[in-house]
Amino acid sequence: MYAYVMRRVVAIIPVMAVVGIFVFLLLHLTPGDPAAIIAGDYASPADIEKIRARLGLDQPIHVQFARWVGQLAHGDLGVSIFSNLPVTKLIGQRLEPTFALCVATIILSIVIAVPLGVFAAWRAGTFVDRATMVFAVLGFSVPIFVIGYILMYVFAIELRWLPAQGYKPLADGFVPFLRSIILPSIALSTLYTALIARISRASVLEVLTEDYIRTAHAKGLSSPIVLMRHALRNAAVPIVTIIGIGIALLIGGVVVTESVFNIPGLGRLTVDAILHRDYPVIQAIILVFSGVYVFINLLADLAYTLFDPRIRY
């Protein structure tokens, strides 16, 4: 068990190394002068020189890379070109809304998707099952920003139940906070819910044909107990895997959702950084999001042993 954890943790190193090298090289891979690219179309030669010197782009590439890795090791993600603030500070300021939105979405998705998937598998072929599958295909297909605007139109503009845009921090009180993230998290959760529901259904459906399920029914256990204790538990590994992999979709979705609902989180920081060509910020955001994604998938891998004691490493 301990060896397995260590092996999984060590396996992260090459992945993050590739991410790091790629993020570093991004700017150098593009044709043309990186300093000129950052400076934009209307920069004077002096501006370009200034940026070149500030980012150390006038030094040989291996020196630049070593310096960059050294800074990262000290927790320094660089300084924003646009706002002149340290990137760690910018990210820190934007963390709360994104974190709140993601947690709300993950909870909402799992609470809806897993029972829905289990129920659809239990009643395979019925109307509920068909409806679940239709929902799953729709959830994959209707882009988050389209869902977001439709929700906003119906619940905020027509019915006036919830605020259309903006974010209220938790410090302003729990109810305004909750009201401000309901629509965004519903919009963001559709794709994730569709994904988890589909895999849950497929996974449970496969387990339901096993002998021990028939045995459990035969010894008189009620269907909910058989489904939850016997079927779901044995079907858990693919479900946990897809929850981990789905985080990538969620991170992409956050960028869009925050733009649609005008939420000042990391996603908006990303979009602003692109529009200003604020390169250090883009680099840092990719590193941070990729790191989170890899870490969550590590947790998912480790969680297998909790759900399935047969897995011994």
Partner: protein
């Protein structure tokens, strides 16, 4: 005889009937494939003949700015005198219907180009990785690293560097899709290379390129076709999304993402600018995904049984 077989047909009538019966049988068993393929074909035709179906998408007319769609009038939303065009007009007085029809061109172009580009690169890398040990070790580390970056974020970062053009959008969306194709192809190659008939080919002295092309490549086609369809659906969404965020197709080109970006500001009072391209986008992606599901069920009944 010729009259019975039909004009110009070289086959005897029995063969023609058998073929027709086969097609009908395929359609009966796979309604999803037929329906979604037909809808997509219709969309492609509309995009292709956009010049005949709609007026100039660029034509400005400040006199008719932000007029509601006449389609809504039918349901009694606003007064009949003020409506303009089927889908209304935008903030510059351009016809939203015309722009939506022309916007389909960008979505289809990007979707198909990304599917072609990423499957081609993915196929080549995957075949080599599945067969050449050393290349496998290096390539798969790089692919794992690329897959650790959320794909939309990677596409956004690439667009920020490349600058906006349709060609760059295609490249930026293809790069994050390649690792997924590589993994798929590599998995197929690793299974097939252990098959007795490949061993037989190797032991009878067949050269590597021929083994790859004749014995392994054909086995990758079915899963690749399904994957390419899903890649196409994802690409259509990501293109719209990049344009929506202001880092995609150049703003002067009518694409669904650009239209939605322009419609954002007016959304609370004039929602049609955003809703019509949004609904078209959702419909196109839905039918591409359905086509993918249908192809998967048709081409790989084993997976289909598990997923359905």
């Amino acid at each position: 005889m010729a009259a019975v077989a039909g004009a110009g047909s070289v086959y005897p009538s029995g063969v023609v009937q058998a073929r027709a019966a086969k097609v009908a049988e395929f359609a009966r068993r796979n309604p999803t494939v037929i329906v979604s393929a037909s809808v997509l074909l219709l969309m492609a035709l509309m995009a292709g003949f956009a010049h005949h179906l709609a007026s100039d998408p660029m034509a400005l007319d400040p006199a008719v700015r932000l007029k509601p769609p006449c389609m809504m009038e039918t349901f009694g939303f606003e007064s009949r005198t003020s409506c303009r065009g089927w889908f209304g007009t935008d903030h510059l007085g351009r016809d939203v219907y015309a722009r939506t029809v022309f916007g389909a061109r960008i979505s289809l172009t990007v979707g198909l180009a990304v599917a072609a580009l990423s499957t081609t690169f993915g196929l080549v890398i995957g075949l080599l990785a599945g067969y050449v040990r050393l290349f496998d070790a290096i390539a798969m580390r790089v692919m794992d690293g690329l897959m650790a970056i959320p794909s939309i974020l990677l596409a956004i970062a690439l667009m920020a560097l490349f600058g906006s053009s349709v060609q760059n959008v295609i490249i930026a969306i293809s790069v994050p899709e390649i690792p997924r194709v590589v993994r798929l192809v590599r998995a197929v190659v690793l299974t097939i290379r252990e098959m007795p008939y490949v061993e037989a080919a190797v032991s009878s002295g067949t050269r590597l390129p021929r083994i790859l092309l004749r014995h392994i490549l054909p086995n990758t086609f079915a899963p690749l076709m399904v994957q390419a369809t899903y890649v196409c659906a994802a690409a259509v969404i990501v293109e719209a999304l990049l344009s929506f965020l202001g880092a995609g197709t150049p703003p002067e080109i009518p694409s669904w993402g650009n239209m939605m970006a322009e419609g954002r500001v007016y959304f609370q009072i004039k929602p049609w600018m955003l809703l019509f391209p949004g609904i078209c986008l959702a419909l196109m992606v839905l039918f591409v995904n359905l086509l993918g599901d249908g192809l998967r069920d048709t081409l790989d009944p084993r997976i289909a049984r598990r997923m359905r």
